[in-house]
Subunit: 192 residues, 2 copies
Amino acid sequence: MVTPKKRTTPLTKDELFTAALAIADAEGLEALSMRRLAAEVGVEAASLYHHLPSKDALLSGVIVKMRSEMRIPDPLPEDWRELLLAIFSEYRRVLAAHPNLTPLAGRRVETDPDSGLVFLTQLGFSDDDAVELWQSMIALAVGFSIFGSAYAESDVSDLPSELAERMSDWRDETCVRSLRMLIDAYDAERAG
Amino acid sequence: MVTPKKRTTPLTKDELFTAALAIADAEGLEALSMRRLAAEVGVEAASLYHHLPSKDALLSGVIVKMRSEMRIPDPLPEDWRELLLAIFSEYRRVLAAHPNLTPLAGRRVETDPDSGLVFLTQLGFSDDDAVELWQSMIALAVGFSIFGSAYAESDVSDLPSELAERMSDWRDETCVRSLRMLIDAYDAERAG
DNA sequence: ACCTGAACACCGTTCAAGT
DNA sequence: ACCTGAACACCGTTCAAGT
């Protein structure tokens, strides 16, 4: 759906990211071209380069935008294990809500200082252990979301049918279960 | 490096997949165009469509080609846990050997009947547990490889410097350690 | 400062025509 | 059966020109 209206206000980066995310969500990543985005916001393709250096910058912005949808429960869980699980379950929830973006999910890792990683080291985790747990949680959550999206096609045709059916279904509960296992395992090995 | 030589034998799919894999390895996924591949094998771009239905089919073939490089140790490990670890460590090794292909790694899951998944069910794992463990191993191995490749850029600029440094380094040992933890955890919860 | 028109150097894909 | 030439409908990006 192109919405060509004469613009009265100048474009903003944020407006572009939002529109691009909407296009990718609705029509897939292939549909998201500079020309298509320009048409959507009522402008020529060349105009976009006054606000963005490249399409790559656009895609990065879209990911950041998506990740900004993460919401952590307001009374933070008291148990740090539950907190960690909440963070990464939420990450996975957001990824699952934008299945067309999963091919991009691996492009960019952002780790804020207040994200929980630093917190782990204060709980008695060594820097090494904290980072290893953090990396593994990201890898599992993102990997699981990629395979769970339509972007991935599973070839399980040669498996026994009960297994084939289950292998095509990447359930949320499975991801959370394995995330929890990682937390508990690192906790048990924690260098005090 | 284009190698335009007059061809004497007809093209084969396998030759195309091999050449395409070489281009992607050497110059990146963006460099792999139908026209570029055609030039490499000494033919016009249009000719490729006598052997392949689409570029998508080419990319799928490239992934299959890459995965065919997996080698499982010849005397199979006796311990099934070691076997499982060997399979997924090898998967990760192959992915790490082709970092330019990681964006494609999530496109296709293949699970052979003799891959080990069926084997798990014979060890007393329920179908559910076997599949959940299997999926989690794939997700972790692939996710880890994606973030470890140059394709991913980490923004850790706001972290304390020791943590930032470690967060940019996705070590093989970390992946294997977490894979092993998943195996042990599912083993412990196994429904006998 | 912001937008446009037109161009450049690419894409994937199709198809009639050649051998 | 296999390959080619030429075309179609797209790309991302640049740049002089307009307001």
